[in-house]
Symmetry: D2
């Protein structure tokens, strides 16, 4: 349970004070405001503020296309048209501000998305709390034997127990020493100067929790979600992306539906892949050697990168491998 009673009371208080505004309002998002959605063992995501709604996307698009957009008769159709043709600027006209509590190693991946505004809790100024991410047993995965990036099966038995024990003990000891280093009392009870916080933090492991405000426009948020809610993303960031997807679905339902159809559920084929399919459907028995693809590319052509879905549809046994790209379901 990541929230203290004080925090819950603050949320309740904020939600008890509606005010009047002339701005665009998304009822779906109002229902989310300030509430913390728990993620992992101590983390959360919550919406602090938002700007715009589905109608605001269309309004901005109609400024661009003027009379030209009259033929698209309703907002949903226009939003699908914009998404389909990669007209991204109208989606940039919506903005959201999230408060996220997350482990440092997740924050390090997240921050690579540069087109966003961030205010992170500063361990130069302030003292971090004693909270560490310790995976649930089913998330304690082995290294994949197929590729260098993915995960394999969950660890079991003594190995799992040993890993959990090390993670807990090392984090606890590191935090004990962190506290002892910055405190004004030495272990023997005498006074000490206390190490600077900006130095003491270096002793803390990457599973300690940090938090930040993260503000991003809808176009860049969709880009983040496409990469981070994907089955290839690390589980520990994907659960945050999944939680955000649920919020976005309520905030801008039409835009989110178009995003699901064209981005998350979309399939991309290379020119070489199309040419191979054409030969195969014409009856040729194409092999990796004659495909013009590398071994890795051939494997992904069959089993990954969305082609498996296509494989299902063209009925070729080649494509019967499990779907490996796109959002996991």
């Amino acid at each position: 349970m990541p929230l203290s009673p004080d925090q819950q009371a603050e949320i309740d208080s904020l939600r008890a004070q509606p005010r009047q505004t002339l701005r665009a309002v998304s009822e779906g998002m109002e229902a989310h405001l300030y509430k913390a959605v728990p993620v992992l063992d101590h983390g959360f995501v919550r919406v602090i503020d938002y700007m715009g709604d589905d109608a605001a996307i269309c309004q901005a698009a109609r400024v661009s296309y003027g009379r030209g957009t009259k033929s698209v008769q309703n907002d949903e159709g226009l939003i699908r048209y914009l998404m389909r043709h990669w007209h991204s600027t109208p989606f940039e006209m919506c903005e959201v501000k999230l408060h996220v509590k997350l482990p440092v190693f997740v924050a390090r991946q997240w921050i690579r998305h540069r087109t966003a505004n961030v205010n992170e809790y500063s361990a130069r100024y302030s003292i971090l709390d004693r909270e560490f991410y310790i995976p649930q047993p089913d998330a304690l995965a082995a290294q994949s034997v197929i590729n260098n990036q993915g995960r394999g099966e969950a660890l079991s038995g003594e190995e799992a127990a040993r890993v959990l024990e090390w993670l807990k003990a090392d984090a606890g000891r590191a935090y004990d020493h962190y506290e002892a280093m910055i405190g004004d009392t030495a272990p023997d009870g005498s006074a000490q100067a206390g190490l600077a916080r900006e130095l003491a933090r270096m002793n803390l492991p990457a599973n300690i929790y940090t938090q930040w405000y993260w503000k991003v426009d809808l176009h860049n948020l969709f880009h983040f979600l496409r990469l981070r809610a994907d089955a290839h993303a690390q589980y520990e960031i994907r659960v945050y992306a999944d939680a955000i997807c649920e919020m976005v679905k309520d905030w801008v339902p039409a835009a989110y539906a178009a995003f699901e159809d064209y981005r998350m559920g979309g399939v991309t084929l290379s020119a070489t892949g199309v040419a191979c399919l054409r030969r195969m459907l014409a009856g040729e028995a194409v092999t990796q050697e004659t495909s013009g693809m590398s071994k890795g590319e051939w494997r992904e052509f069959g089993g990954g990168l969305g082609v498996s879905r296509l494989g299902d549809l063209v009925g070729s046994p080649l494509f019967r491998m499990p779907f490996a790209r796109g959002r996991s379901r």
Copy 2:
């Protein structure tokens, strides 16, 4: 008068429909929403949406600095502290969306500020209106004889009349031909194919009006305002910046006051400039030749770049030249 009756009715209608929200509300900005502030002869600026207020800046800063910010007891003090120490990320937590109608040559300057979101009316899809910026007589300035960039005195008499006549006649003729090229009827009344809009627009001059939605965070807006509300900015963009300043002042009064004190009204000296001042105050008669500065730099040291203000205060006759940098008043 830049607004049609239909547009005014739409604004009135939008302002007549308050809704409830749980978000931060700035009463000062609510009063501006949707209203069009006239700028130049056919242009305007109006606020379409905003996110955050002074308190939201502090809230984000307190996430960063945690307990460390408790010592700054009130929001205004914290905001001044952030501005003074160039802690820019809390200001990025506020966002504003403007609808601007402006001449194309102003839009070309404006768009150079890259950290913003833009949806511009598209002359590929749509037909531009017959509206051109024609300067008022007192804005019809001569080329400066001092530098290549600035303006001198206003033109007078026949020269001014001749310029205005050319601007009006050329714009009118260009638009007549634009309309004739894209129309489906030839001058002799017969049918014609009609030139593609994306080509016909090339005949239109840079004083034709365009419009866009422009969305930006407060930090980057301050940067825009510092450069474009400055006395060195071209008059035709400065009037837009001035109009936006009035809105920002009502939106985030504490942040705007800090911006005025530390940025718009601030004075910057180079290391060389400081060294010269020191020598002068010690009684040395420093000249350009002995200053280590170029002629241009020496001129600006005395009369420009804020040093003239300093000149007033140290009482040196060297600095009696008119103040040339910083926001015009």
Copy 3:
């Protein structure tokens, strides 16, 4: 012919002075350096500088993936892997600086790509040359009757002649008045103050040529090329993109080949599109009404957005329409 003898002599001089460097060198790009490739009637593109080559992309990727990339045995395979999996940061490690001369209405489209560095010729400080883009007859296209954006057939006969005459006459007159306004002599030979350049420029039409230095990393350049070398891009910017494609092909041949295969020649299907295909291949006669698509989307599904290529391969008569998306050939 866009280059003056002086400009050609300067290029020859720069190309006659090789120097030694320890940096990565791309022989293919060295052959292009400084040379101006003519585009449109007075424009050009030329390479002023570049950083990195195919090997530099791999070097950066190997920093990221360390030992994990050893399994990809050669640079070409690694580059294809990176492109296929949207690992964009290694491509950001290459940079190019171009000098481009282009009509203002093309520059206005181009500048919308924000992740780039630009130095444009300033008409506030300097005087623009008397050079205007006048389309060749076969580029003088009618407005498309299918959509608001595209072009139809070329204009013919008197209509074409009339348009060309207007474009030339209006541009010439506008420039005459521009010169007369900024000059120091009135038409009657008497002295005049001369209008400020920053104002006089407003009289010039959007087909006047400007020029700039444009610096961009390879990832963002690929994004620009995918949009602007596409058949849907306006012809007048596409010819610039095409010219740049030829340079990039010689600069980073492996990366360019991967870009062609996965981006320019790639095909994207929506989840709805995949579901429809599946039903059709199972023998169902899907119509727009039963497809779950709008009319526009259905038309594009058959004839546009790459599906026509897929159409060829699955042999459905539905898909026999000409290929409408992806780079024109």
Copy 4:
């Protein structure tokens, strides 16, 4: 000593192979290429590539200002003019690519500078080395008693010894467990699955070293250096900034000199500060209470933010406090 013999041999090999280029060459930077400058106990910075030199800055500026820049007769004068007037785009025309090895807690500060390209060593794919930053005794500072951010005196005696012992022991144990978790052999010699690398890394502390390629333009690099080579920056990032300053000085000597004069050595006063100075020089005994400043601002007005330099020059005893802002020397 951060480089292995293999690494040194690779550097020597790269430096032994000069090639011919037609591009701009900076001899000062060629002397740095590939060489690793040691920073902290295991870190380094080295230049991998660069684009442009002082002349390239001027060349880009002259494209912008055309004939208008002829009056600035030499490159150094032009560069100083550009820096003085915040014309930043010509500085963006130079680019540099660095290879940096640095502790994770330093990397977390560094990455906040968003306008740069980064390829970091991935602990999802690869195994981190056993290398941790352990401060030298004189860098083992106490928390400042003046503000929450800075450092005080170095720890001494038993306290220092205790901190160093904890830092070393905790890092070593964490790494032992990291290795044991990802290995394929359990402590008892039996086979084990091995934890996924992307999970095991969470046990490692923030003083472990990572490395990346970092590519940035000169304008944004100057911004980074102004903040990170400043006396207020954390020592552990400042030493990297200092090392980069030495490279930039050799790369673009004129631009670096202007940067030192106008940015690093510059002094900024607020409007309120200027008004106070004016009153004081007129003989008034201004106190914090009558100054219009908060206590913190008044303290900084006297002793910090460059005003102390000004204090020296105006001879007021108020300003005799040590200079606290700007680059430490």
